[in-house]
Every structure is written in structure tokens, then in C-alpha cells.
Symmetry: none
Subunit: 196 residues, 2 copies
DNA sequence: TTCTAATTTAATTGT
DNA sequence: ACAATTAAATTAGT
């Protein structure tokens, strides 16, 4: 049982980053040859030292000191139940705890195998109450200034950062749905066969 | 998610110049009063948020013509066979059965109640061949750019969207299985009682 | 039941 | 700040 038919043969290193396409395989026919695929991979990772602003990494992992934060075992964080902890299935939670163990004890080992996004902030799960208030404020003002955000942060016991991101994402959502409803309006204003 | 099938323009111009925080209430306590809320335009849905990007609805429901497609009964097809008494909560299941019944017999009734069920894209069943190629590509590049995805889409006769989602889910799966295997490694490296 | 396609939304990156 | 994308967490179909 538990046949994990897929998990076994997988290479574990991945350099992501292929935003720009770059997929020019000149070969005429249908070859996704290894070459062509590898050719498509961007070498964006010269280890760019690109974005070393991850306060929470150190905040939660404050034993290390001088090595590149992006190479550290970072967030353990979301490995440890401290941070959100609530809704993993049992197995996964044990897995996570264990990983954390290992990391704590052996730290600095297999960083390489660990994904590039290690440093990602654990996803915040807003409560119903929090969302409610945020939505109410959003209705009135979708561009709250710093003072309002700070106030909200305090009231909701969240970092001001989270508030800001929330409003950003919320605006994006609103924009999207507006765009889409406009699309429908336009679409319905035309005879069916004019729109494919 | 990328909604690239819609007008890529930026039809809605925002004057987002509100640094000052409009919604700022001078009142001491936490009042975001109804008045202040109603004072604004408020055209955004009060609740569960619309997600009106569902091109396939029309594609499969091309009998109607002038009514709003979002209000139509969409895919009856996959609504019909749902008399599987499986894992919906009782209430919802009854609702479904009922709605379906009416939908079949009365078509276009009970649109409102169907809404939560309606918008979902029918699950795509990939063929063995498709999976095979996708897996092969994934092995070399788990982050294919748009070009590669388009190429795959064409080759496999799928929407590019499906490809993108497939890779997303595949990455999640890989991550999961990596976690699990790490768990096993750690587990075997420690005395039993260290693992709860 | 397990696996996975599809959805929603928090977080990241680059401009 | 926005646009586009990714990952995390869910929902739900087979």
C-alpha cells in the first residue's frame, strides 16, 4: 500500500526562474530533448544575492549569525508548530516536526537540497474577525495610509506589513473582478458569433 | 493566477493617491460605522467574492444567448451524475440532489442556489501520454516558462492554463514527497521514542 | 481511500 | 503601488 509511484526517481535539485520563456528550440519536430529543455533553463541563479530582506528568518532562527541568510535553514519556522501549526494532517505535522529536529541538530546540512524559497514567510491565516474588519475598512478606503494601517495592525494584532500586503492583494482582486465583469458586459453586448 | 485570456489592457484607471488615509476616524474607538461605509460607493460584493473568469461556462452551455452567462446553468453535464451519495455534508448533498433534479427538469431554475457549485471547471482527465510527456519535462524543468508551456499545450492539445496548473500541482506534490522522505530519513536516524 | 485537478489567497519579485 | 507569479491550503472529482 501507499504506493508512491512517482516519488522515487526524482532529482531533487531545481533551479527555477524561467520567467522569460527563452524556449527557443530550433529543432523542427516535436522534440523536447533534454538539450532543448536544458537550454531553456535560465541561469538566473548566479546566486544573485538578490533579496536579503527576510527579517523573520533571523527572528525565528536566531542562532546563526554570519552566513548568508538565504543559505540558512530558514524558517524551520513553518516547520515548527509555533507559527501556524493548526491544520496539517497528522502525518505531515510529524514530518514537519521531525524535519525541524533534524535541522536544529544538524543545521547547515543539506541546505542545497532544500528549496530556493526556504526563506518564504509562513502563510498567515487571518481569522474571520480580522478579515471582517479588513473588509469593512477596505470598503471605505482601499488605500489606507500608514497611520490607518498601524492602527489596524494594533487592533488586529498583526504586523503592519501583513496589513499592507493584504490591501495590495485585495486591490488586485477587486481590479480583476471588475475587469472580468466589464468583459462580460461587453461580450453580452455583441451578437454571439462575433465573439469567439 | 494569471488571467491572460482576458483583455490584457488596464481598463480601470485608479487615482490611487490617498496616502493620507481617508478612512481615518478621529473617533476614539473602533468604529467603522455603517454611516461611513454607506457614505461610499460600495459596489463590491458584500460576501463570498465573485470569481467571474469562467470561459468554459459558455463554451459548454451555448444554448442561451442573451442572458448573463453567469446566471445560467452551466454544465449540467457534470451536474447530473452526481447522485453519488458520498462525502458532502448532508445538507449540501440534499441541496445538490434537489437542485440537480430541478435543473434537469426545469433547466435554468434555481440558478442562485447553484452558484457555489456552478463555477468550477470540470476536472480534466489527462491521458497517459499527456502525463508521460509532462513528467518528462518536469524532470528537467519544473518551472517551464510561458513558451514551453504553450508548446506543450499545442503538442498535447490542452489549454496552456491546464499545463500551468499541472506544473503547480506537480511542484506541490514533489515538495510533499520530499518532506515525507526527509521524515523517514530522520525517523530512522533517531531512537524511536524521540518521535511522537 | 488516495491522489490530484481546480480554486483562493498570502507572499515574492521586478518595475 | 501594480502586475504577474508562486506557494500554501483547501475543495472536490475519480
Amino acid at each position: 500500500m501507499a504506493d508512491r509511484s512517482l516519488g522515487s526517481g526524482n532529482p531533487t535539485s531545481h533551479n527555477h526562474q524561467d520567467k522569460s520563456g527563452l524556449g527557443e528550440n530550433k529543432n523542427a519536430s516535436c522534440s523536447f530533448s533534454i538539450e532543448s529543455i536544458l537550454g531553456m533553463e535560465q541561469k538566473k541563479d548566479g546566486t544573485p544575492a538578490a533579496k536579503p530582506h527576510r527579517p523573520w528568518v533571523d527572528k525565528w532562527n536566531n542562532l546563526g549569525e554570519d552566513c548568508n541568510p538565504r543559505l540558512r535553514i530558514p524558517a524551520m519556522s513553518y516547520a515548527v508548530p509555533l507559527f501556524h501549526a493548526s491544520n496539517y494532517p497528522d502525518v505531515e505535522e510529524r514530518v514537519l516536526k521531525c524535519e525541524n529536529y533534524f535541522a536544529v541538530n544538524e543545521r547547515l546540512s543539506y541546505k542545497r537540497e532544500l528549496s530556493w524559497y526556504r526563506g518564504r514567510r509562513p502563510r498567515t491565516a487571518f481569522t474571520r474577525k480580522q478579515i471582517e474588519l479588513l473588509e469593512n475598512v477596505f470598503r471605505v478606503n482601499s488605500y489606507p495610509g500608514i497611520d490607518v494601517r498601524e492602527e489596524l495592525a494594533q487592533k488586529l494584532d498583526l504586523d503592519e506589513d501583513r496589513i499592507q500586503i493584504w490591501f495590495q492583494n485585495r486591490r488586485a482582486k477587486m481590479k480583476r473582478s471588475h475587469r472580468e465583469s466589464q468583459f462580460l458586459v461587453v461580450k453580452n453586448a455583441f451578437p454571439q458569433n462575433m465573439i469567439k
